[in-house]
Subunit: 297 residues, 2 copies
């Protein structure tokens, strides 16, 4: 990746009940000078207006899974979010030659994930940005999905650079002042880094970066008809990013019996007890902790 950043897009309300991003975008729309930087244009987008109005994650299906290339090209997909994804892709994409050089997509989670960055790609410039942010604020963690590239079906994949920001634990439909402020600060840090880079100045970045790499997801124990048989074990609740080793409790059955994690490798679960993932059959996502060395500029 090289070349100048000309256009940065900050997105909120991809999920209509994640209020942190929605209210930050409303604030930026009221005070656009907050986003003003010398070397690029920065614009905002509320991605799912109908879901925002309904205070629901989505109307027909999860908008943040509608951006696979084959879905964007499929005229048979006509649900509200499918149509909305095509409109947004026309505005910010296409993936091969995007109108947005950087996309920052603002989310919240009921899991205790603090300030998490999910980079859109592992391009060196994107990883250096992540390393800059986590060096600046040790509470920032960096997590790479299985598809940490533009093949992913997330909105952020329209552009090669940028990230999703996940903050939590925040209940759906709730505003948390602390996380609003921390998320806004993180956005300003990103814009400042990009603005300096555009002008040939590279803000200090550590030589390596800790990354939580997604391995797989684990569903809740269920019976034959799909009903939950257990919940997250109290010892694991709110323990996102903490190590989980063979034999340690993972679930608690309604009958009172603990179900342990079984696996040779120590893992670092995230998205533990995310409300929106019950229907996706995800109780938590397991990651491994890796250290990436960063290429020099």
């Amino acid at each position: 990746m090289s070349g100048l950043i000309r256009r940065v897009v900050i997105v909120g309300g991809t999920h209509g009940n994640e209020l942190t991003g929605i209210y930050l975008i409303k604030k930026f729309q009221q005070f656009p000078q907050l986003l003003h930087r010398q070397s690029f244009e920065c614009v905002t987008l509320l991605a799912n207006p109908k879901a925002i109005a309904a205070n629901r994650r989505y109307i027909d299906r999860d908008l943040n899974r509608c951006f696979a290339n084959e879905d964007l090209a499929n005229p048979a997909l006509t649900g509200y979010e499918d149509r909305r994804a095509k409109e947004i892709a026309a505005q910010l994409g296409p993936k091969s030659q995007p109108n947005a050089d950087v996309i920052i997509d603002l989310h919240s989670t009921t899991a205790n994930m603090g300030l998490t960055i999910l980079p859109s790609s592992k391009y060196p410039v994107n990883l250096r940005l992540a390393a800059y942010l986590s060096a600046l604020n040790p509470l920032v963690r960096v997590c790479c999905g299985v598809q940490c590239n533009q093949d992913a079906p997330m909105l952020r994949s329209l552009s090669p650079l940028g990230c999703t920001i996940e903050v939590g634990a925040i209940a759906q439909g709730v505003l948390n002042a602390d996380y609003l402020q921390q998320t806004e600060r993180l956005i300003h840090n990103i814009l400042d880094y990009l603005d300096a880079m555009n002008q040939g100045e590279f803000l200090p970045v550590p030589p390596s970066l800790n990354v939580y790499q997604v391995i797989s997801s684990v569903d809740y124990p269920r019976n034959a008809s799909g009903e939950l048989q257990a919940v997250i074990h109290p010892h694991l609740q709110f323990k996102d990013y903490e190590p989980l080793s063979d034999g340690e409790p993972m679930f608690l059955k309604f009958t009172g019996e603990a179900i342990p994690y079984r696996g040779e490798a120590t893992v670092y679960p995230i998205f533990i007890n995310e409300a929106a993932y019950y229907e996706k059959k995800i109780a938590m996502t397991l990651t491994s902790k890796q250290q990436l060395r960063l290429e020099a500029v």
Copy 2:
């Protein structure tokens, strides 16, 4: 109040996205012997099946505001929850001569209210039960609404005895193992108390009871078009039941300015930042702390 308790009804899913009660009821339906007591019948009810299936608080309107006598008698009210309220009132009511002697209605809240009991009435037997529970577990708090009687529009008002149980902070659509266990224990304590009382044994109750008496509710600061202009101040977030005095911060404007509480009396806010109350225009409910002396048996 005198006379024997013959029928206790435990209700869950009055709000379809408050999973604690829903899953406890499912557990009790699978293991009915858990609710078996010698001196009365104990049955369960999932109050809002359509909202439970949709994982939403309600379909047409809040079921837990549909039980005013005039609404129950109004044939023009035909929304899903209005019809459901009439069915439930036919089953457990009428208020004047209920089929249920005691109703326990299980709720959760995104506010940090721990284990809160909202008694259906201030009848001595009901207050003694509340005092018993809070003496047994100091984490149990007792809160009386403005209408702490059968005139209230809540489901619990179908019967003169019993309470709503509110547990939190729990996000909507999420199960929390700790709160599931604590709520189940509270239900067992209630049933044990009633069972002993039915058999002429009065379990030990302290001579007085701390009650948080609802005074009024406070809305978020909004602009002329109703849009939020501020959020709960970080110093107040999760501080339910803690004293709030004149001049202490209450809200934080999006522009960064704090808005203090103004009032001569120290108050004890509850339901701080409850997700479902944004649309009800309630940012928090102010209470006063009172000590009630209990009548001897």
